[in-house]
């Protein structure tokens, strides 16, 4: 896996940009090349906010990725817009708390994560982005679990409660992602 691309998409306030930046930092910690690109252009209020992260062992060429290996969608408009764009053989992670739809595509793997419910249960409703981030890492191993854990500790070290709940949901998301991939592997 010399290069892996992930798009995070949702609406403003879901921690989309933050999820991408945390992944970028984890990539840097592993001495990898990374690029983070925000959605940049005219967008309508309540529409989609998204960012793409490229993690690579070698020099990154094009920062513009038309078909990422993985897309994490957090709301319905993002599902509609991005589901067709996952690269064949890639991974789609769907926040099933807010998205009822399922993907018909047979050329990709799809993982449904009730991110909002899991975040609320863990006592931090704002951490749905971390649930998905955990699931992504569990399912793809784009970076090591340790790297993302350390990144979050560094960012949230000064807020003990927030750190604890975020690490908790990160682990839960990660286990979910790993299990789902194991199941697929058996088949």
């Amino acid at each position: 896996m010399s290069q892996y691309e992930v798009t995070f998409a949702g609406f403003g306030g879901q921690g989309i940009m933050t999820a991408g930046q945390l992944l970028s930092y984890a990539g840097i910690a592993e001495d990898k090349q990374v690029v983070w690109i925000p959605s940049y252009g005219p967008e309508m209020r309540g529409g989609t906010a998204y960012c793409t992260v490229v993690v690579s062992k070698t020099r990154i060429g094009s920062p513009i990725i038309s078909n990422p290996r993985c897309i994490c969608v957090f709301n319905r408009p993002s599902f509609d817009k991005f589901e067709p764009m996952v690269k064949a053989g890639g991974l789609l992670i769907v926040n099933s708390s807010l998205i009822n739809s399922t993907s018909d595509r047979e050329d990709i793997r799809t993982l449904y994560v009730p991110a909002n419910e899991m975040a609320i249960k863990a006592g931090n409703p704002k951490s749905s982005n971390i649930v998905v981030l955990g699931a992504l890492i569990g399912a793809s191993e784009v970076v090591k679990y340790d790297s993302i854990e350390k990144t979050i500790e560094k960012k949230l070290g000064h807020k003990k409660e927030a750190l604890e709940s975020n690490l908790k949901v990160l682990k839960q998301g990660y286990e979910l992602g790993r299990k789902a991939m194991k199941k697929k592997a058996k088949v």
């Binding site: 840097i28 090349q33 060429g61 920062p63 038309s66």
Partner: protein, 374 residues
């Protein structure tokens, strides 16, 4: 020093401060407003001046005044804003003032759009304002390179007493990449600034201006500037080669973000056994002319392809430099549309059909001989 993840706009701002810039004037415009935001916070921390002007015309004249004091002064804007500054840029070039400008280009002409473009090549490289002058123009393709060139820009501005402009398309401003800053910024020694207006106490008053009513004096000034630009051509051409080698069938010429997209296309073509090289000018003025001519006239190169996010602006220079010694072709998207690597690949494949070259010709020739033999 450790790597930090920074947005291009913020990295550019921090690099300017590291290079000793203590006066920044601006007027906000997408996609570079984060530079101003960052500077508004950081300048007071380093005893610098942050000032938002009433317009870009005002900002241009603030730069003119501040640069005349010999301080390192700086402004950033995007295409329409840079247009408004052209008068003072010409004045500063005429008055030989060091100043650094950044243009994070968006689609034009007119108010245009806010998405990335490279359509200010002519404006940056060929004058922009009136009169016989040039800017030293640099174009980064990564955030780290933007940091390095930003610091270099302040050095070159002082070295040549001339405005230096760094241009990046909107992506350079908006994307984040890990960057490293030197712990301590160091640069080669520079001449003193006896011309600077620092208060005339204890010395004769002096004047910094671009007005020369005597034509002989004005001509003298213009030739003096010309001489500087010739020196830049000798000393300041910068470029990068990517996979340029004797096997190349096509040579791509591209700069900025567009060059990175071409790199990806080149890597994919290589996997299919097609050898394409990339010539990436880093200094757009002075343009690395001799080096381009050398790469473009390598034996196996069937055609030279300029790829830009504009309607063939740099391509005019490529045609001028290559002088028809190798066929020159162009591919561009503009208005904020960024071409994908696949579009570049398609262009290269099209050129290989159009210019089959000797190899393929011989191949088909031998086939037809065989056919005759039968």
């Amino acid at each position: 020093m450790t790597k930090v993840l920074m947005k291009g706009n913020e990295a550019i701002a921090e690099a300017a401060i590291k290079a000793g810039c203590r006066a920044y004037f601006c007027y906000p415009i997408t996609p570079q407003s984060e530079v101003a935001e960052y500077m508004a916070k950081r300048m007071p921390e380093v005893d610098g001046v942050f000032l938002q002007g009433e317009s870009e015309v005002g900002v241009g004249n603030m730069l003119f005044g501040a640069a005349a004091t010999g301080r390192r002064v700086f402004s950033t804007s995007s295409s329409p804003g840079i247009s408004l500054m052209q008068e003072s840029i010409s004045y500063m070039a005429g008055a030989q003032l060091p100043v650094v400008l950044v243009n994070i280009m968006r689609g034009g002409p007119g108010l245009g759009g806010i998405l990335p473009a490279q359509s200010d090549y002519f404006q940056s490289v060929k004058g922009g304002g009136h009169g016989d002058y040039r800017l030293l123009v640099l174009a980064p393709s990564t955030i780290q390179e933007a940091v390095d060139l930003m610091m270099l820009s302040f050095h070159l501005a002082d070295k040549y007493r001339n405005p230096v402009m760094m241009i990046g398309d909107g992506m350079i401003g908006q994307m984040m990449e890990p960057v490293e800053f030197p712990d301590k910024y160091e640069e080669p020694p520079l001449p003193d600034k006896p011309w600077a207006l620092t208060g005339a106490a204890g010395r004769k008053a002096q004047v910094v201006k671009s007005l020369f009513l005597d034509p002989i004096m004005l001509e003298k000034n213009s030739w003096l500037l010309h001489e500087k630009y010739e020196q830049m051509k000798l000393n300041e051409t910068r470029f990068e080669l990517y996979k340029v080698n004797p096997k190349n069938e096509i040579l791509i010429i591209s700069y900025g973000t567009m060059a990175r997209i071409c790199q990806t296309a080149i890597d994919e073509l290589e996997e299919h056994g097609i050898s394409v090289g990339l010539f990436r000018p880093v200094s757009l003025f002075p343009f690395p002319e001799q080096q381009l001519l050398k790469a473009a006239t390598q034996k196996g190169v069937k055609a030279v392809l300029t790829v830009e996010m504009s309607t063939a602006q740099m391509h005019e220079d490529v045609q001028r430099i290559v002088m028809g010694k190798t066929p020159t072709e162009f591919f561009g998207r503009t208005g904020g549309v960024v071409p994908s690597p696949q579009e570049v690949i398609d262009q290269v494949m099209g050129l290989l059909d159009k210019y089959p070259g000797k190899k393929k010709a011989q191949h088909s020739a031998s086939k037809s001989k065989k056919a005759q033999g039968k």
